[in-house]
Symmetry: C3
Subunit: 415 residues, 3 copies
């Protein structure tokens, strides 16, 4: 990845309390630099390991001009190899997923082991050293069943520092033994930062998300709708008075509870919480009705939901009986792929234990609505008449996201 | 708008008597500067007020990256608001036209009065001042029923100076009580200046416009086919000898007559004329047959037509019983939207008083033909083999248009 | 054409023995410079003269922003005129091919003789000199029925020096009396240099071209699959021992034989050979079965094939009974049109003497396969993980093609 240290615009500043100047959401050079920044400094959640259960199973993941083969080797380790033959650069794998015993380039049949070493290369010069032509790889970690990658050419950021605080939130759901039930991509014609901003506030929920609002309690949505820190201190405090009662009760029943939110100086801008859904709903479904077998450690519903932001483009939402992983993949200055991956307990049987359409319903509706409003947001931000207005009290989290972005990208902040 | 003062190419010159060097018709930077120049220095005719007869009626007009809400307020004043919420920049209106009582942003429900003031914005900080967040507006004038806008960030050009000389030509047609009968857009893959050049000469009519030539007398087309100044002084003088007879006769019957044409130093490069159609035709229709109820002050046909160029991208043609407004909207270096709006007397009833297909026929055919020839012109101008050839005696008006463009854009002119 | 002398990247070097650094296959500025280089320094084979047998017959050829009218005049000479009217630049011819008696511009009816002189231009000033406004032309040569063009604004390269060594290879096939049987374009999403590289080696044939390999002997393909010089000296020498027997035998029967290959310092990087097809096949067809009447001087099959590279984007393959001309036309940094033109003896009758589907079969399959593998190659080369790997012993010809390109484009070569 390139340009991660480039300061593209030396004049622009961020006024703390609002969003960024307009060209940050459209400029091609800023986009290229943003993409390099994300790939190099973040661990990106890209999928769940259940997609490739057996040695030789692989899938492709594309970001920027890169195409990666995510493959399970013979020892069950997972690798991220650049899908680029070391001979003349051809793509090696053509299908978006599949199974191979050997990675064979279709151009000239150079072949590689599942661990990346060059195995076969016909008719090379006598002094050709195969050992110098292993597939190039990106950094990859699997944790709690989730696959994370980082494309730094040198050392990646410390993975423990990245993941450790979220582990208590992830652990009860047994993601290592979870399984992908279904997935869907929502291609969105908007800059990735507008997608993130939309995900980090619920000020828009009342106007835009009728289904979502039917599930969650309105006061929680405004105070915590996008996780801890997503509303003003005052509003959060009001709602916290309810949590002061709920959290000890839940803990007494043996359920996990917890909350934290990074400030904008933190490297990953993480947050996590487990909060009651509201309305006496058991899970995040229409009507709050159970949708699938309980996951992980859960033996009964706690009527709550975990929300984890691993970084601005990687999120997990988890009820007691299902979870959704969200990945936001920047595709261009004005395009982002929003992808949702629905997870259930590994043993759950489709049709018997869960229904795909019901499982998807709340977030399929919500993400479809988000696509429209985010695209409308982008269209207006392109105008010369756009200047950032002040954030409301329910947009505290995007105030800080913009500050986090500015600090990490070298944009002066006017507080 | 940006770049209006940018000199993109400091080497190019215009040889007076021919068109511009090729890159003026394709270069992206020149296009951006042109667009800023047009938006900032011209009053652009964008529509007719009958499109939004009642308070709360609106339509959207797009130019460059801008999208404007043209809306009638409660006092019947018409405004041009940028379609950009003052909060986070979302588009406020999504439909190309409609009716509202309040302008409500679909993202977070900020709402604005029809006059632009922010009315509602929930959960803002206590010190939030609504009065500072009215919708931004562009300059707008309504005159004789036509809507004009200008996007200068500071003072717009003087509207009186712009419109006054055309009022005597517009007034007899009663455009304030006219109504849009139909409209059609002809997206054209050519630079806006090639679209203008095509509209300002009739040297091509014989080869390209059989229908158009069946309506108008050939000698007028060559001398005045694109308005006064569209042929050489010599040819115009020849035809003027006929006008010397016709004009007093028409005036004696109480009909309006007149002619004028700006030279290339003028700010808007305007022209206007009322000339006999020829062939004894009552109106500009196939066969010259009447097509709709007489407009404005006309109580009988004068067998003539008014042609007004308000500026190179805004034109009106008006017979006694109908009129057409033309707007040329630059979309990109190689794309322009040509739009025609057909107008009839407000009281005219479709189907009874006029037939849409017949009303459109002459110019629908002609503009469709113009699209083809202008696109062919653009294709050739892209070649390195293109150099401007000399204009014919019937292209005097485009000689001066090119000079007008050059003078206003800072391109040296070689006379 | 522009930029032919521009050095776009002053840091990049070619390591002799591998392909070029990645950005040479995608950068827009390098592409523009490459296109100028090809148009200005090469004679491009663009078609066969049988496409325009009679005076007034023409076809259009597009390259870069240029569009050329290739037309036969009244004296049977063929011209390449820029399809740009000398008046205001309009395209003159709109159809991809046709017949005219006079070239009449559809815009204002300026008309030109088949030899290019301006004939008619109405209403021009009295001092207008028609003789100054002939159509501009590009350099064109017809040799052995093939049409070659060069777009240099000054003197083109010496045509004799370009063509002479290939004449003995072309002559026996009687191309002057050949006829186009059919043609097909394979639009390929890859830089032109990757298309060329793919054409200049047969290391990929075994993996990618089952049909092609069923026709040709495998040892020849590896040693000479892409003409002389397409394998290492060692491999070529091994195969040459067979040729030492075959060539005198063929010559004794009166058949033409021969071989040559330029090194990478030569201006056109030409090569030519006549080699046995192998498997006892009479012609390059599935099963080796005859497909059409013998061409030119052939009165019996010699079971061999001529392969001529006139320059990297112009090739001819010729069996005793048919031939194929290949033109590779760069369209953009990542797009190239590969076009094949199948030729048969002029007197051959379709349906009776040959079957189009059978005639096309071997190369239609092969070029369709090439499109896929070349596009996969391009996709991988875009990655930052791409670095050129070492060429195999069967890729000696692309090693030299890359060196030829580097030398002629001013890229330092690290040998």
């Amino acid at each position: 990845m390139n340009d991660k240290t480039t300061r593209v615009d030396t004049d622009a500043t961020l006024s703390y309390g609002g969003s960024l100047p307009g060209h940050f959401y459209s400029d091609a050079a800023i986009f290229a630099a943003d993409l390099g920044f994300l790939c190099d400094t973040q661990w990106m959640l890209i999928d769940h390991a259940s997609r490739i259960p057996n040695p030789g199973d692989y899938f492709l993941f594309a970001v920027g001009k890169e195409n990666l083969i995510i493959i399970r080797d013979r020892e069950n380790a997972v690798h991220a190899f650049y899908n680029v033959c070391r001979h003349r650069g051809s793509r090696i794998c053509r299908e978006k997923d599949g199974h191979v015993n050997l990675l064979v380039c279709p151009y000239h049949s150079w072949s590689y082991a599942l661990e990346g070493q060059l195995r076969g290369a016909a008719s090379m010069a006598d002094n050709f050293e195969k050992s110098r032509y292993s597939l190039r790889s990106a950094h990859l970690r699997v944790e709690q069943g989730f696959i994370f990658i980082n494309l730094a050419t040198a050392q990646p950021p410390d993975f423990g520092q990245f993941i450790d605080r979220t582990l208590p939130f992830l652990a009860p759901h047994g993601f290592e033994t979870a399984r992908i039930a279904t997935r869907k991509t929502y291609p969105t014609d908007a800059n990735w930062k507008l997608v993130v901003e939309n995900f980090l506030e619920c000020y828009h929920c009342k106007a835009a998300h009728q289904t979502f609002c039917s599930v969650h309690s309105s006061e929680k949505l405004l105070a915590y709708g996008a996780g801890p820190g997503s509303a003003s201190h005052e509003l959060a405090t009001q709602f916290s008075s309810q949590l002061v009662t709920w959290e000890p009760e839940a803990a007494a029943k043996g359920f996990f509870t917890g909350r934290f939110a990074d400030d904008w100086h933190a490297p990953y801008f993480q947050s996590a919480s487990r909060l009651p859904i509201g309305h006496g709903y058991a899970t995040e479904s229409v009507g709050g009705v159970p949708m699938a077998p309980l996951m992980g450690d859960y033996t009964q519903y706690d009527y709550a939901q975990t929300a984890i932001t691993l970084n601005p483009i990687s999120h997990v939402l988890s009820s007691s009986d299902h979870a959704i992983a969200f990945r936001f993949t920047p595709r261009g200055p004005l395009t982002t792929d929003v992808e949702a991956i629905w997870l259930v307990r590994d043993s759950a049987v489709e049709g018997t234990d869960y229904d795909i359409a019901k499982l998807m319903r709340v977030w399929d509706v919500t993400l479809s609505e988000d696509k429209v409003i985010t695209e409308d947001n982008q269209a207006g931000v392109l105008s010369t008449a756009y200047t950032p207005g002040p954030h409301s009290r329910h947009e505290a989290r995007i105030t800080d996201f913009c500050a986090w972005y500015a600090e990490h990208r070298g944009v002066p902040i006017n507080t």
